[in-house]
Symmetry: C3
Subunit: 378 residues, 3 copies
Amino acid sequence: MEEGQSASNGGLSHRWPRYDAAALGFRHYWYPVLESRKLRRRPRATTLCGEKIVLLRDKGKVHALHDRCPHRGVPLSAGRREFPGFLTCRYHGWTYDVATGELVAALTDGPDSPICGLADVRVKTYPVEERAGLIWVYIGDEPHPPVEDDIPEELLLPDAVVEPMVELRQGNWRHAMENAVDEAHARYLHRRTPFALFRKFPAYQTNVRMAPDGKWLRRLSKPIFDTADYPRVGKWPGNEGFWRKAGGQVIVGRSRLPGIFSVGHKNWLDFQIFVPVDADQQLTVQVSMRRTSGLGALIWRLRFWTYIRFFHHIILQRWEDGFIVDAIDAPPEYLFRPDVAIVGWRKWCHETARRSPAESAARPASGTSDALAHARQI
Amino acid sequence: MEEGQSASNGGLSHRWPRYDAAALGFRHYWYPVLESRKLRRRPRATTLCGEKIVLLRDKGKVHALHDRCPHRGVPLSAGRREFPGFLTCRYHGWTYDVATGELVAALTDGPDSPICGLADVRVKTYPVEERAGLIWVYIGDEPHPPVEDDIPEELLLPDAVVEPMVELRQGNWRHAMENAVDEAHARYLHRRTPFALFRKFPAYQTNVRMAPDGKWLRRLSKPIFDTADYPRVGKWPGNEGFWRKAGGQVIVGRSRLPGIFSVGHKNWLDFQIFVPVDADQQLTVQVSMRRTSGLGALIWRLRFWTYIRFFHHIILQRWEDGFIVDAIDAPPEYLFRPDVAIVGWRKWCHETARRSPAESAARPASGTSDALAHARQI
Amino acid sequence: MEEGQSASNGGLSHRWPRYDAAALGFRHYWYPVLESRKLRRRPRATTLCGEKIVLLRDKGKVHALHDRCPHRGVPLSAGRREFPGFLTCRYHGWTYDVATGELVAALTDGPDSPICGLADVRVKTYPVEERAGLIWVYIGDEPHPPVEDDIPEELLLPDAVVEPMVELRQGNWRHAMENAVDEAHARYLHRRTPFALFRKFPAYQTNVRMAPDGKWLRRLSKPIFDTADYPRVGKWPGNEGFWRKAGGQVIVGRSRLPGIFSVGHKNWLDFQIFVPVDADQQLTVQVSMRRTSGLGALIWRLRFWTYIRFFHHIILQRWEDGFIVDAIDAPPEYLFRPDVAIVGWRKWCHETARRSPAESAARPASGTSDALAHARQI
């Protein structure tokens, strides 16, 4: 028996130390934390991977700083914009360069205040970028990779029309992401969701496996639509209505670090990004996109706001998935055959999650090829 | 001085280790947890002695299972009844035999799911019965005694017309039960309760003692109704109204394990059962009964719903006693003469509380006769 | 480098052990806990320096007792006044002499209850006095000093017309008091407070120092009103309106133990007393006074209720200061030049805070002269 393997779970419940340790998320990644349109003149507070961060927009550009004045610990998000390019703490007027975090003035100590410019009085800044209608913050060691490395490339296409939606949810980010990675629950939990009114869901799937595809881990399986006879309980699923059509499009889910799940619909893509806040909460970032423009873009946005947002994001994702993610009480757990997807995801994270630049330099080979080799064995 | 005895309390504050350890209640007993009429098709969640339990009714019969799917820890009380005789977890369709807790199907893994029938994937079931309008759950080791062993026999009489009422209250079950066992507080706390509008309460009582009577520990005392002259403060009780009649019926309280108190009124009986939920909460189960039938039963129920429920159960028991039970902050405590009743109850519990069948087999003599001998010495 | 000095804070962040240990306040002092007019017949519960206290008025005189019946820990503040001069516990009628805390009767155990008069069944009493519209409780060892020792003498003048206001606030009392001691924050946090509509605040101050003046530690500084050119950020303060007049009265703050801050206005005085409740909460007691009488007193009270109470006590002190005191998250902290006032206060407390009478007797010299000597060095 392999080390770290639990016999009682038939070999499925490996322990993946890096994944197990990531209650506050994986560092050295970019995370989306707020819709761009929601950051105006007023600074906004958020928490990312356990760190308090204030976001603010200055001359159009977004900046992110540690949300704590070193003087007496008052949140800088309560501060004011006395001077362009600077954020001033509400308490005593300590004034920071929003780009560097440097303390440039302590208003209430006069223009000659000796505290200014001391190297150790400085607020930590975070790399921050705007893409795809979202504000992305890098958390981890420097040097940081370009933000494009951590954004699904479809969202960056010139003709991508993107609709993002960010909300705070209960439950650790891993439970939320595992719920997305897990295909099986959709066959039962979401079976009667209104969005599937005219669609027959598969009953179950066989041959679940995870296949690496660049940065993505693709979930493959064979869906079975037929009603089957389950020993001792009877036939399932029953007659669900003549208007529901089986087959049609097969939804293929893809997952990638640090916690992005993507599913393709007929002519649009849905992304779910689970962003660690603390050990008990996550931001659920849902991004819907379609490649279109002009009148097509208008129609697409109309469809999003009248239909997709409510039936997908609110009913299915908030009320159904959100309820479950908050209710999950694991470990302990006892995995079953379809959970090969979850185990594959955990293993993928353990093996390929980005290391700090320093650590990476000290390691000989690339983790990615290891991960590919391993993942193929799942 | 006896071991465990506290000198500062004049010998009243013995320590009874089994009682002290029973913050979550005594095991190996049946407890009432819900009114029968409140359990319909929808499963109901409850907590008993710290264990989460889902109750459900199937083909008229009640079943009780541990309220946690072993797969990922989601509560089964959120589940569905896909097939008669089975409860299906809301998340992935794991389906359990409600009578045995056996996993019989995992819907989203198809009819051949290898996880079904594995001996270690099983939900714990609890013995459960319906009697006297209540659902009773056995918590403890097997083999369990018949439920009738733990129900006051009056409630099981063929002509008993029973009205039960269950509510969640703050405070450990022992504080609630000790409040019931304690006679003295009624002379003050409940003195002006509306139910006693036409009744003069005793001022105090003398010669308080506890006398075993089968499974019951009977509280005896001599009530004193006269106004007395208390040194330094003056006469008490004062004139409480000519319409209040002293004397009349003497209320005798009886207590029994695991936390049942009974008091007899002129032609009806009142039972209070304090059911441990966790260390800080208890279910207060109040059961009023009268032996009657036909038109008499109708009149009795009318009297219960128009008078007894409000004046006894809500004003006296919820607002007066419930307030105090939540406010008690003991230990430390400093007992006085009437608390011989509480001490007698604690000792009785320590000495006679049921042990697991295995423990009982290993012990030579019956605890009951010990308890009787001890109790007579109180 | 001096012991306990933090290099990183340029010598400002000394550690003052007695001050650091005073999370629940300094003992052996009188504290105001309630407006006199709010204590009528009904007992009132409060918490002072972590101790639960019940206040009650009997024959006009106020008494303070530990708010816990030794019998079973029920709060005496739920009790009744069965007999003049005594407080009776709501649960079993244990009756205490409000002046001495002595148990004089246990009503439900009859007039001969042997528990009465036992030396160790007694409720702790606290010295309590009424002065200046407030109820003052002494917490600490006996013998206690006269209450007048701990009340600013202005409040005791025969022609003082006093308006007190007590409210519970979040945050440790030291953060609240340090906020008052700190002059610098007013130049920024309160700069646009409505009360200063016609007044120009200084921009900053120089030569901040603390000077002992009897029981008071007086804060001195030179206010600078001119707009200055701050390197890198620009001119500050900007044009704040022609109607604002600079100069005029210079507000001098004075601080004294155990947590009293005073500031003088043109013809009235404002006192802020920060009373420790527990480690996370304080009572903020604001007392405004003016020397006047007759019609002048009426006008003064009118001015207080129409103007001062709202603009000073609610907007400036509750919404502005109260918000900050709750938001302070220190230590760690990084002090700047104006914080010499806070450091002076901490040092003053550490060196001059009253010791128990026993400790004081054992110490040779008076702490006050030490404190004076030290304070002059700040």
